[in-house]
Amino acid sequence: MNQRIIFTRYIIIIFFVIFFFRLWQLQLFDGEKFKNLSEKNRLRIIKTPAPRGIIYDRNGIPLVKNIPFFSVMLNPDELDSIDTSKLADLIGIKEADLIDKIDKQRSSPFVPIKLKIGLTFEEVARIEARKSDFPGVFVDTEVGRNYLFGKTGAHVIGYLGKIRSYQATAIDLKELPQDALIGQWGIEAVFDKELRGMPGERIIEVDAIGRELRLIREVSPIKGKDIYLSIDIDIHKAIEESFGTKAGALVAIKVDTGEVLALESLPSFDPNVFAKGVSYSDWIMLINDPKKPMLNRALQSQYPPGSTFKIIPAIAGLEERVVNNDFSANCSGNLSYGKWNFGCWRKGGHGLVNLHRAIVESCDVYFYELGKRLGIDKIHKYAYAFGLGQKTGLELIPVKEKSGLIPNVSWKEKNKRLPWYLGDTFISSIGQGFVLATPIQMANVTASVVNGGFIYKPSLLFNVKQPSVKIDVAEESLNTIKKAMAGVVNEPGGTAKGAISQTVSIGGKTGTSQVVGKKKGLVAEKYMDHAWFIAFAPVEKPEIALAVFVEHGGGGGAVAAPIAKKAIEAYFKGKLENKNDKNR
């Protein structure tokens, strides 16, 4: 018996050797690993979002506001005790959607699931009142955006939206919570990083059921930077009013800095719809709307600029000494070339016209003659020098600016596989045919003409003077054009009488972009021509230059010019009020 007891001793010792090695393995070999795991158990890092920077217009009027909005959340560890059909009823979504949301977001027993965002106060009250029936359901407050002017200026301001799956890997977004709102459109997106600020951090100690026990460390969030835009919301309001139900765009630029004073595209959309997280059906409705409210017509609508383009061959003619003020052409209402006949918009003809009269009355025949003498390459050269046929470089996310088109011989051969005809030069000279331009390009051209030949990259930031490039044109040539443009509005026979203003002297140039060939009997709106008008003011010392484009607006003088006048008046009215404010 004693032998057996002694043998037991060795068995005990063997077990202790095993325990020794196991302790060594757990505490020394894997000690660091387990230490980290125990810290991870205990500590939670909670991001506290920074208040987003406010966006102001050039007069300091806030365009957005941070407002709280409410989401209903669910603690996953209470999931078993919840009747999903009753909960779906309470928060007003389908049970299948609710289960889907829970399944998709369920990652850990400690991270709450977001069931619905953007609750109304009534919904919050209803949920809070029945809280005791639904353990683990609670209302979370987040900060969202309220766009104070709704549709007005929405294409510039943009909106916030959830991080999309393809964005989640972007370096600067990795740090953000999965359901954070970031700028998805417009300035909100362009300056997202600046506006966002630095989220704060709270490191808390929690127990096994995720209850917060104490704060270990807290880093306060840093508020995002405020952004002062160059746009004037009052001009936007005036534009929206004067467009009425028509679609189109208006871009106004401060001529000596390149600041964009207004950039409106109509119809617009309400960014507040997106701020709460747009529903799929709303999104489809916006995308498929035949009026295309999400299309930024100021940057993306490229159409033949019509007669507004004539200032380009006019400058080319002066610079290349093809014409001088005495050069005249006789307009009989049309110009025959070979078997083709190129008509002037005025069937009776303009008679003998010089450059000034040709611009004022927008005589097409004069520009056919001028184009013939210049040749397409010269027109192409000057159009390019003024920034046509290329992007202006204004950045708006996710809008891709169109570059327009200025044709020449090689372009046609390459893209149309056809030789260049003189007739192509004729219709290019009056801004029809292949020539395409966007409203922002035409506004920038106008600004360059009236500011002495400087071309700026347009900017949406207030009081930021952009670098400029001097176009190699004589001051004198530009003055001639300016004078003619003043005549378009103010002289007898001018095509833009609708732009005459009582408060400020305006110069401009009308244009019409033909939709279909002049067939008779087509009167429906969708067959009407697009109206253009470029303008600047005051004539004596230009400050603002703009381009108006009205889809299916008809004649430029009748429809587009009054809109330009309203916008210019709104700008000077605002300036006057600001001056009065300062004098007071």
């Binding site: 018996m1 005990i12 757990l26 505490q27 894997d30 230490k35 795991l37 158990n41 027993p109």
Partner: protein
Amino acid sequence: MIKIDRRLIKYFDFITFSLVISLSIIGILTIYSATRPPVESMNHPDFFLKQILWLVASLCCLVLMVLFDYMWIQRFSLYLYIAGMLMLVLVLIIGKSAMGAQRWIEIGPLTFQPSEFFRLIFIISYSAYLTTLREPLSHKTYLKSALLFALLPLILLFKQPDLGTTILFLCIFITLSLIKGINKKFITAALIISIISVPFLGNIVWDKLKDYQKNRLTAFISPDEDIAGIGYHINQSKITIGSGGLTGKGYMKGTQGPLRFLPEKHTDFIFAVYAEEFGFIGSIILVFIYLILFLRGLDTALKAKDEFGRLVATGITAMFFFYFTVNIGMAMGIMPVVGVPLPFVSYGGTALLSNYIAVGILINIRTRRYELFYP
């Protein structure tokens, strides 16, 4: 007044005594740390106070157990056995159930677990029975003893159900049988039969297990499969022990227990809490105390004056050893999660009391190791 023989003090086993006292002190300190509230403003639960009171009572029992010759225990072993079996039946009838098990009897403010005492009675009565046998266990005597001392009480225990205690009983039963010695022919036959019957019996036993018991066993086999579910206990226990590192996080600095990541922190998983705060060095010291205790127990068995003493001392030492091994093996993730306490350290009054009575018997055997000693 009981007359205390001077030899009683002279031969008193102070080593065993001081080993278990130090284990109890470590236990109370660790219970205090493990049950401290996670936030200062909350009240500290009084588990440690209760444990101190139980320790005082246990010490009294220990002294009482040393005062008389253990031969008296041998004489009353049959009555003890009957009384123990009655308690086990009683607990099934009037017992209080908690967590799916019916193990406790309530007497006034105290709850006590009859199985904790029955393990001692079992060792005593089986040893007494084995002492009556002149020869090693043959199939005849073995079957008789198996029926009386293994099958009957085990069925009652299994019915409670108390899986941990059942398994430990089986281990003690086998140990004592082996120490007594088994007929060689019979042991070979028994081995072959048991190996063949394991799959069948295993199936029957598996079906009878409660869900939580099945979970514990499957979690032991693959703890990483469901970290938030069954494997949670094992994983958290390993994290708790491992995070102690070499020197530990320091007394009252452990986080796993008070923040409730570790379940059963002051009972079954108390070793993890201790290891987290005192690290590898502390754990080795604790394990070493147990090692000395066990070796001392075997030494007592070797030195005992009679076979009964030898068997009882071995049985008690084996009992402590099995409890210790299953408990810290479970905490370290090398044995299934079977809820047994760590002797002398885990919170639990009945267990402490019965362990001290057992130690008292152990000391009694050592103190009276010389035949002539008869106070």
